[in-house]
């Protein structure tokens, strides 16, 4: 049998890699890719805790499904924003989109 720790470490790794992507990529689309990785890491955790906890309690799977919905919504709106920004400012580099600075 696989101990819970394997899943948790996998998920932590996936989360950290996603975090690195979010913090370090220049392209806004790539930042969203990183966010997807982080969301997936969370989902792995949720499902693993469902499997290794009380099986009758479906909260883990239910929340994984809700994370799916949130991810889909986030990607749709996020990419729409990026495309909208690209149309106006002709760039998708996150650091160039800095109208909100001092």
């Amino acid at each position: 049998m696989i101990p819970l720790s394997w899943y948790l470490i996998l998920s932590a790794g996936l989360f950290s890699i996603g975090l690195f992507g979010v913090l370090s990529r220049r392209n806004a689309v790539a930042i969203l890719l990183g966010v997807e990785l982080m969301l997936n890491a969370v989902n792995v955790n949720l499902v693993a805790f469902w499997r290794y906890g009380d099986l009758a309690q479906m909260a883990g799977q239910v929340f994984a499904i809700i994370v799916f919905a949130v991810a889909a919504a986030e990607v749709a709106v996020g990419l729409a924003l990026i495309i909208s920004v690209y149309r106006r400012r002709n760039t998708v580099v996150a650091n160039d989109i800095d109208l909100m600075k001092w």
Partner: protein, 708 residues
């Protein structure tokens, strides 16, 4: 499909029809009325299936069809809503389904379906007729679809009320009907009188509804449930009957029943809240009127009948109910005698007949009240639809002569219509005789006789006498109406050119007149001479089974029988005698001011409540209280605060707050801001990094502070 599922589905088609018509089909008149009538037909079908399945169940009262679902979570319990079909609601469902279906069909003809659009018709006004090849013909109602949507919603309210198993959904249905009543009375909203009548009906019934809501709230706090079956359990009733309420020396049961009964007073237009019903005749003539006769006002009575086990616990409340009912029966009958508008007579007659039912409940005659409720619904629906048909026929005459000054609703403009409108005449006659209690053959006789017999045998002599007089007057004004409308010679040219109406209007009349006659035969008392026992008294057995203890079968007594025979036949005879030769209003000896003006109740309410409220708000509240006392106090406050304000300003605000805190802190903030500014780069990733660093630092710090 199980019966329980079917019961849930009964109210649905009309409300679906409402949304369908409002959202989609309102442009298409034929589709709209098809949807509405189809929905009514579905509900009717469901109701009939449920009714006949209910007939097949032994001891339905003990084992009714019921089903409920949790609706609103209230902490750790659920407020449940559900449906219940016991003998009472089955019987009521039967007549509601029939009358509703008939109204729907009738409305097609009444709103001139198939006629051209009017020349000058506007939304919010009755149709004025269209010119076709130089003739004026009736024109189709401009808001045809909207009407069907409204009565669809109305039917939903009524069905919901009937099938619900608890006071909450009953109240929901009740209020939906209140809303629809408002919408339908004010259907021709461009007429000021219709607007006023709508507001009046809404406000008046609202008074009753507030009390009813109080009653429901009290009941819920006392028992923790609103379901009928749970409230009517032995121990709950016992507790309610013994706990004093602290008001007027009533028990809790008495007070609750009284509050609920006040709701009924409003809904069923009992004295003193009866004023709205006659004005409600402003709605589209027969249909809205019919709604206010056969279904909605019956709902008020139905609610009291439902709560009868609770009501009967406190004798004081019972006396009050009996008094209100009997008084209303007589009082409204006296007004009806002097009315000239064909619909107003029926409106007051409705109030009076509802008084009969209420009085019957007040003396404990449960079965008699239900019986009269149902027979009355049938024949009053018939009468109202008949009067609508008469008016429609008269309007035809008006279009023919072109004299629009003639009021097609005034009975003194009619006369001799029996030859012009034979179907309407015969059905109206049947309805009128049923209302008067014409012996043996009509349904009205059996139900009214049962109330009178109950009152007499159980020793409620005062109620008996009052109701007998009222019954006499009922027969009298009914015959007066029939004589003035149908018999004799035509008094105007318009009446001469009246025409029989379309089959969609007459067919419902025929169906309803069938029930107006035969429904009485299912409730013939067992001890009635000759006829008793020929047909088993099915109604008593069936409806009586609703109560925990079957009501006793009445001993036969000759006095009430003779009385009801006498008052019915006598009233009819005198009505015919007095009016057979009346040519105009001037010949009518009963045009007494006090009756004509409805005992000046509208004026009295106007003076008592509306005028006095105006006076109170203008003179007392506005002039004295507002301008004098409150403004005076405020002025003093103003002066004092003004003085204090300048004191504080000069010696505290300017030196301390402004100079030191204000300017000083602004400088500090400005300095900080200037130095912190470079952090705000506008780059989201740097913010994220910063946030993460802070988060990690705080996390580590907390970990070591709290755990280590």
């Amino acid at each position: 499909m199980t019966t329980e599922t079917l019961i849930w589905l009964i109210p649905l088609p009309p409300v679906l029809a409402f949304f369908l018509i409002v959202l989609f089909t309102n442009k298409n008149k034929a589709l709209s009325h098809s949807v509405a009538v189809g929905a009514a037909l579905l509900s009717w079908l469901g109701s009939m299936i449920v009714f006949f399945r209910a007939l097949g169940v032994e001891h339905l009262g003990q084992h009714p069809f019921e089903s409920s679902i949790p609706w609103i979570p209230t902490g750790d319990t659920w407020l449940r809503i559900g449906v219940l079909i016991d003998p009472l609601s089955a019987a009521v469902l039967f007549f509601v389904a029939w009358t509703v279906l008939m109204i729907f069909i009738y409305s097609i003809g009444y709103h001139n379906y198939g006629q051209p659009a009017g020349d000058h018709d506007h939304m919010g006004l009755p149709p004025h007729g269209a010119t076709v090849h130089g003739h004026t013909v009736p024109s189709i109602e401009p808001m045809y679809s909207r009407f069907f949507a409204f009565i669809g919603l109305f039917a939903f309210g009524m069905f919901t009320l009937v099938v619900s198993d608890n006071l909450l959904t009953l109240f929901v249905g009740w209020e939906i009907m209140g809303l629809c009543s408002y919408l339908l009375i004010g259907f021709w909203y461009a007429k000021e009188s219709a607007r006023n009548a709508a507001v009046k009906a809404f406000m008046t019934t609202r008074i009753g509804d507030v009390f009813m809501l109080l009653g429901i709230a009290f009941l819920y706090s006392a028992t923790g449930t609103l379901s009928f079956r749970e409230i009517f359990r032995e121990e709950v009733l016992h507790t309610l009957a013994t706990v004093p309420s602290g008001v007027l020396g009533l028990s809790a049961a008495g007070l609750i029943a009284l509050l609920l009964f006040i709701g009924t007073i409003g809904k069923s237009a009992q004295w003193p809240l009866h004023v709205w019903l006659p004005d409600a005749m402003e709605g589209p003539t027969p249909v809205s009127a019919m709604i206010h006769a056969a279904t909605m006002v019956s709902a008020g009575v139905y609610a009291v009948i439902r709560m009868f086990p609770l009501l009967s616990l406190d004798p004081k409340t019972m006396t009050f109910v009996a008094f209100i009912g009997a008084f209303t029966a007589l009082f409204a009958a006296t007004i009806a005698v002097a009315q000239n508008d064909i619909k107003r007579v029926l409106a007051y007659s409705t109030i009076s007949q509802l008084g009969f039912m209420i009085a019957a409940l007040g003396i404990g005659a449960y079965v008699a009240a239900v019986f009269h409720l149902i027979t009355h619904a049938f024949f009053k629906a018939l009468l109202f639809l008949g009067s609508g048909s008469v008016i429609h026929g008269m309007e035809h005459g008006v279009y023919h002569t072109g004299n629009h000054k003639v009021d097609p609703q005034d009975m003194f403009n009619m006369g001799g219509l029996r030859r012009k409108m034979p179907i309407t005449f015969w059905t109206f006659l049947i309805g009128g005789f049923a209302l008067s209690g014409f012996p043996i053959i009509t349904a009205g006789f059996w139900s009214k006789d049962e109330i009178l017999a109950d009152a007499f045998v159980n020793g409620h002599t005062a109620v008996f006498a009052t109701l007998a007089i009222a019954a006499f007057m009922t027969a009298f004004y009914t015959m007066r109406q029939i004589t003035l409308t149908f018999l004799g010679e035509s008094r105007t040219k318009e009446a001469e050119h009246a025409q029989e109406t379309h089959w969609t209007m007459t067919a419902p009349l025929v169906v309803l007149s069938f029930f107006a006659v035969t429904y009485g035969w299912v409730g013939i008392p067992e001890h009635f001479p000759v006829l008793g026992g020929l047909v088993p008294n099915w109604f008593h057995e069936f409806v009586g089974g609703t109560l925990a203890e079957m009501p006793e079968v009445l001993e036969f007594s000759i006095v009430p029988l003779l009385t009801s025979l006498g008052v019915a036949l006598g009233g009819l005879f005198f009505g015919w005698l007095a009016y057979r030769n009346v040519k105009s209003v001037a010949d009518d000896k009963l045009q007494i001011g006090v009756l004509k003006n409805k005992w000046y109740f509208d004026e009295a309410y106007d003076f008592l409540f509306i005028k006095s409220a105006y006076w109170f708000s203008e003179t007392f509240v506005s002039k004295w209280m507002d301008k004098g006392v409150i403004d005076g106090i405020l002025h003093v406050f103003g002066r004092v605060t003004d003085f204090l304000g300048s004191l504080i300003r000069n010696y505290f605000d300017v030196p301390v707050v402004n100079r030191f805190f204000g300017d000083g802190s602004a400088e500090v903030v400005q300095w900080t801001g200037k130095n912190l500014r470079p952090i705000q780069t506008g780059r989201i990733q740097q913010y994220l990094m910063l946030a993460l660093v802070v988060f990690i630092v705080i996390g580590v710090a907390l970990y070591y502070l709290l755990l280590a």
